[in-house]
Symmetry: C2
Subunit: 402 residues, 2 copies
């Protein structure tokens, strides 16, 4: 095919996909940049404690793999020994599944993205809690999804009746997103009866539930409920992650999904990043082979539990009446409810300027149209006990002045 | 909100997103599974040579990072020292860019995915060569893109006149995907005049070009052309990768993109996997700090060049007349044209059964409606010289019998 058509001399601008016009940077990530100044005592981030990373043991595992496994740096299929370890981890959480149901992902975030591509059509509906992890909103944004907002009870978790009401009035959401334990940002764990009702709903309405469980292994009161997936299998997709129990920089997570969807999940994942690092898969498996995890988890639970208790005790001492908060059984966050008249975004400015202490205002987690002006999220996992004491004291002075 | 509505007892099946109905596993990946049997001499894969991985130096770099950098296992922003190294690498390819224009991705595949989300609307058009890397087809599949097929000249690369013809007859593709050097699967590099015309077209028509350059540093004839991005900046998105020059398991690639798109690219990337591994970013930067790359690249070029030359010489000796092939200046693939009547998929069966030798039939790379029955792709990067000699001899016997 030969063409004599000359190229026009006038330049035309770049045209982006339509959905990108309304896209917004995560409010959360923007705020984190603002409060990450030296000298500020920050309860803002959602980071695990770097002083608790298993650096030495992981480094040794990595060195062993690089010395002994010639395929560690190559492309390769998902590493089955790692899947075996994950099956065993799931069993500890009360979830029975097979290696064929484990699907490895580049962190839990990729699992959310892959599931959204599997389930959500352009312009489709999704059910999200009014206040919830912002990463799930970013995942559904390219499909311009219609968000069906679900309230959350701060004692028992997601409002199951609201879910049913939507379904009974004709809603056909692509999925419901739920965090079973130590909800981000609310800190709440879903009550057992609600877990049972959710699996009934998933089966009865054909409603896929994406169960995002990064904190399930981090429970500090000596007992924890099994995740939703343990109560029923039909239409429940469990998402797990090594980010909070080993380290975020591994970028390794997993899905528990029906075996018959494996081929489709594989194609979607390949489109995203071909495969998760063969090296990291092997290094994590080698770390787990060496049997380090149980002691490491015990240490995390003990230390994070102490930090939570320290924060809760300090809040009880320093926060004025009229301020309430959740008492999380695990995870990394406490959710604070301020008097309705308070605007926590304005309060953050005061807190940073006057007392050099930071938190995340509730509205960072709010869906469109959701009022969340009088809340704040506090992180307790990434501060030492002394900083927690000091920071909560400072925050108490800020709150006394409202 | 309280509801007395009971949950219906009849189960409803899972409903998947509409596009997944027609989705197909990559033919290529399926074939690779078939031919990966022991005893088969395979020219099928697209793998770099594991014996040439910089395992010892990378392992040392990884150990240094884990010993010295407390933030290596944490979440973190893109690692600027790595961006600096990439700016220097790009300069070696003749591309002037700043750190602010470098965007780190989890392998080049993620860069393609992120760009597709940035540029492509549901049901939009994309321009792909008739025969091209299958990963780009997987990327655009969820948007049910209309593919505008562009022929490729085996001596000079992509048919630029065909691109203009489409544009002049009203096509408005979201992007054109191009591989500047050592095309996968065709082995061809785009001629210099075509590179110049492509940047003119990109600017004049507002046509984004995604320039995927995994093999640009692997050129074996002592000279190589700069990539398209070096000839013009407007609407050209350069995609680079460490997979072929260091190792695939790093899952680390990069984009060179306009700085004003950084915020949007960041949001899209965060939705996909939050961030690329902070540990890997630091380990690769430490490897590059140590100055290992130039000698490593020289070794890759020498050894891969020898493998290519060995394959081409063996083909000249063993292949019958009527069979022709490209002479790639770099990369990993030779593209073989068989007589029109030959069906290379059937031929693969014969080759595997009779001679225990494998290749990828051309149709694995073909777009919908594209006839590519009489081609085969041969990989030369992942076989030792003796295996290349032996395997091409076997393939010659298969071809003599057609």
């Amino acid at each position: 095919m030969i063409s004599a058509t000359p190229i026009p001399a006038t330049a035309r601008p770049l045209r982006l996909a339509g959905w990108t016009t309304g896209m917004q940077r995560s409010v959360l990530r923007q705020m984190l940049a603002v409060v990450s100044q030296p000298g500020i005592l920050s309860f803002a981030g959602g980071l695990p404690a770097p002083d608790l990373f298993p650096t030495v043991d992981y480094s040794a595992a990595m060195a062993r793999v690089l010395q002994s496994d010639a395929s560690a740096l190559q492309y390769g299929p998902p590493f089955r020994p790692l899947k075996r370890h994950i099956v065993a981890l799931m069993a500890q959480r009360g979830v029975a599944c097979s290696e064929e149901q484990i699907f490895l992902t580049t962190g839990a975030q990729q699992a959310l993205d892959v599931l959204s591509r599997l389930l959500l059509d352009e312009g489709g509906q999704v059910m999200l809690e009014e206040l919830v992890y912002t990463g799930i909103r970013q995942v559904v944004a390219p499909c311009r999804a219609e968000i069906l907002s679900i309230p959350t009870d701060l004692e028992t978790g997601i409002d199951v009746d609201a879910v049913i009401d939507y379904l009974e009035t004709g809603a056909r959401p692509a999925f419901l997103y739920a965090i079973p334990d130590a909800h981000n940002p609310l800190g709440v764990s879903i009550a057992e009866d609600k877990r049972r009702r959710l699996v009934e709903i998933a089966a009865a309405y054909g409603l896929p539930i994406i169960e995002d469980d990064p904190y399930g292994f981090l429970s500090y009161d000596g007992h924890s409920l099994p995740p939703i997936r343990a109560f029923g299998e039909a239409n429940v997709f469990y998402v797990g992650s090594f980010s909070k129990i080993l380290a975020p920089a591994l970028r390794l997570g997993w899905l528990v999904a029906p075996e018959e969807l494996a081929a489709k999940l594989t194609v979607i994942k390949e489109a995203g990043d071909l495969e998760s690092s063969a090296l990291t898969q092997r290094a994590v498996a080698a770390y787990l082979d060496a049997g380090h995890l149980p002691a490491h988890l015990a240490r995390l639970r003990e230390e994070y539990g102490r930090r939570r208790d320290t924060m809760l005790a300090a809040m009880a001492r320093h926060f004025p009446s009229g301020v309430t908060w959740t008492r999380p059984r695990g995870g990394m966050f406490v959710w604070v409810t301020l008097p309705e008249r308070v605007d926590s975004t304005a309060l953050l400015e005061t807190a940073v300027e006057r007392e050099r202490v930071a938190f995340i205002p509730g509205h960072a987690f709010a869906g469109p149209g959701v009022r969340a002006g009088n809340y704040m999220r506090l992180n307790f996992s990434n501060c030492c006990l002394a900083d927690i004491e000091e920071g909560i004291g400072r925050l108490g002075r800020v709150l006394e002045a409202i």
